[in-house]
């Protein structure tokens, strides 16, 4: 390998490097110095995130197994930002006594999933894709079971590992059928040779099912709420934002490039699943009382909205998907950040009724949560509106009017339940609302980044235009 080749895969190499640094720091330091691992990891991650934005060459490696294009680099950068925010938000949670002795494991596992996601996004063949996918899912199961003595946490962990193993089994069966019919696992060869023979259609259905589990599209969504509720809040936020974003990225890339020959077919499948996903996610979200569960179902319906952009399939649609994920990262992490801060300060209060009268006691946190929920719902001043707008434009451009109608109706339904916590915080009277507490510096920084992201990404149209120029070459 030449030096430029190292530059080509710098995201993965840098992440591997900081994983090794943290591992060595964990092994060779005494208990006192271990206090420093938390800030060290966050600073290293921040450096990696910034370095990721520096201009760099593009190209392919390992005979096409690894592809680095501008668009994929952008996707990796977006994921890095999400992971960085999760790191910052979890800093104060990791300081508690229960988590003292497993701080570096948290960072190590998160970084390894991030490496997996980056490899997955850059994959140019099914082998690399599969390895990245597994590296991105297995450590998350360990993270979901992070609270060693909590029943809920272990339940979430076992459910996540069983579901992810099952779904990757199904996915692999699809891949093996693709390999059998085409004779190659390279994306470019498969995309040329892929036709619509019955065996190939069957393989696509298996593949689609496997990916649908990972993105939690509706018939395969039942694990989502359980895992999201059981896992610790910071892990849930990572799971719902960064992991889902990575899976959506690679899924959209593969649908548009690898399966382009059967685009008419998968668009029909996506049409139906997107409509069901949006509607069911919304209907279930309405009756939730636990806020983590509420956000779980809301994230299911958001996945349905994201699928609109993939169905659009055009270059505008791809840009809309990437842009929406960027917005979604800031909004959802903002919401989860507030929930995590309140849950940590109040000893695990996560129900909607606990938030009654929160505005009186903690105005800053309630305003942040309100802004995040507005952004998720798509109310104009914040970025979420523009994200939804571009997704809808991408669908309308191709003339899917019925789907657009369903999507708009669902947006209106979602307004109702996104305003429920807002109503609880601002209007509902409570005898014992959560007392005022001072959140520490890390939490503040994390939330400020989220709020700034929600506002800036919405108003700076440069960002969308930039993403759009990239999406010519996937």
């Amino acid at each position: 390998m030449r030096l430029e080749d190292f530059l080509l895969m710098r995201h993965e190499l840098l992440l591997t490097l900081i994983a090794i640094i943290i591992l060595i720091a964990e092994i060779f330091t005494d208990d006192f110095k271990k206090q420093g691992i938390r800030p060290l990891s966050i600073i290293l991650m921040a450096i990696v995130t910034i370095v990721g934005f520096l201009p760099a060459p593009t190209g392919t490696l390992f005979g096409g197994m690894y592809q680095a294009t501008d668009m994929r680099l952008m996707m990796k950068n977006i994921l890095n930002i999400g992971a960085l925010i999760v790191f910052i938000q979890s800093a104060s949670w990791l300081k508690s006594d229960d988590n003292q002795n497993k701080v570096s494991e948290f960072f190590l596992l998160l970084i390894s999933t991030l490496i997996g996601m980056n490899f997955m996004i850059s994959s140019g063949d099914f082998l690399m894709f599969y390895l990245g996918l597994e590296l991105a899912t297995i450590p998350i199961a360990a993270l979901a079971a992070y609270d060693r003595y909590s029943n809920k946490s272990s339940e979430a962990g076992i459910k996540l590992i069983l579901i992810s193993a099952l779904s990757s089994g199904i996915l692999l069966y699809g891949i093996s059928m693709i390999y059998g019919t085409v004779g190659s696992v390279y994306f470019d060869k498969v995309s040329v040779a892929y036709g619509a023979t019955p065996l190939q259609i069957m393989s696509f259905i298996f593949f689609f099912t496997g990916m649908a589990f990972k993105i939690s599209i509706v018939p395969f969504h039942l694990w989502t709420a359980d895992v999201y509720e059981g896992a610790p809040v910071n892990v849930t936020s990572y799971l719902s934002v960064v992991s889902k974003g990575a899976a959506v990225f690679i899924f959209s890339i593969m649908l548009v490039t690898v399966f382009q020959n059967i685009a008419a077919m998968w668009k029909d499948v996506m049409w139906i699943t997107a409509a069901i996903t949006m509607t069911l996610g919304n209907l279930f979200a309405m009756r939730q009382n636990n806020l983590k569960r509420f956000l779980a179902f809301s994230s299911i319906s958001q996945a349905g909205f994201i699928m609109l952009g993939i169905i659009g399939g055009s270059e505008l649609g791809m840009a809309a998907v990437v842009y929406y994920i960027l917005v979604y990262i800031f909004s959802n992490l903002g919401a989860f950040g507030v929930i995590a801060a309140i849950s940590n300060a109040s000893g695990g209060k996560e129900n909607m009724s606990d938030y009654d009268g929160l505005y009186k006691t903690n105005p800053a946190l309630s305003l942040t949560l309100t802004l995040a929920l507005f952004s998720l719902a798509g109310i104009p001043p914040v970025a979420g509106f523009f994200g939804k707008f571009f997704l809808f434009t991408a669908v309308a451009e191709k003339g899917y009017w019925w789907l657009l109608t369903i999507a708009v109706l669902n947006t209106i339904i979602s307004l109702y339940y996104y305003l429920l916590p807002v109503k609880a915080m601002f209007i509902n009277k409570a005898e014992t609302s959560i007392a005022y507490f001072k959140s520490d510096g890390w939490t503040k920084v994390g939330l400020i980044i989220c709020v700034a992201g929600m506002v800036i990404v919405g108003f700076a149209s440069v960002i969308f235009e930039y993403i759009r120029t990239l999406s010519f070459g996937l």
């Binding site: 599969y130 360990a142 069966y173 390999y179």
Partner: protein, 109 residues
């Protein structure tokens, strides 16, 4: 080596595909119907192994080694998956004193 692949090709490819579908279906049904977590993990392994067999068969028929390399990686990843799964299983056993999935209804809508 070539002799072996020639010998393997005496069995028609359809047979391999059918066998793998049967194995895979047994695995999926096991995952869906069994309630003991360890048996579920075993069934998932069965699914993965049917995929491995299929990949190997295709690899021989295409005279292309990629499929067999894929099998190597699937085996390693499956081992990692099982290690994490079993570790969480032990945690679950300590917490709720059972490995029965039906008891996992604490998180339900």
């Amino acid at each position: 080596m070539k002799d072996m692949s020639v010998a393997l090709k005496f069995i028609p490819l359809d047979h391999y595909v059918l066998l793998c579908i049967i194995l895979f279906s047994i695995g999926v049904l096991g995952v869906l119907y069994r309630r003991n977590t360890i048996i579920i993990i075993m069934c998932i392994e069965l699914m993965l192994n049917s995929v491995n067999l299929l990949l190997t068969a295709f690899s021989v028929y295409h005279s292309d080694p990629t499929g067999q390399i894929f099998v190597f990686f699937i085996m390693v990843v499956a081992a990692a998956e099982v290690a994490v799964g079993l570790a969480i299983l032990v945690m679950m056993k300590r917490n709720i004193d059972s490995v029965d999935i039906n008891l996992l209804s604490r998180l339900k809508w």
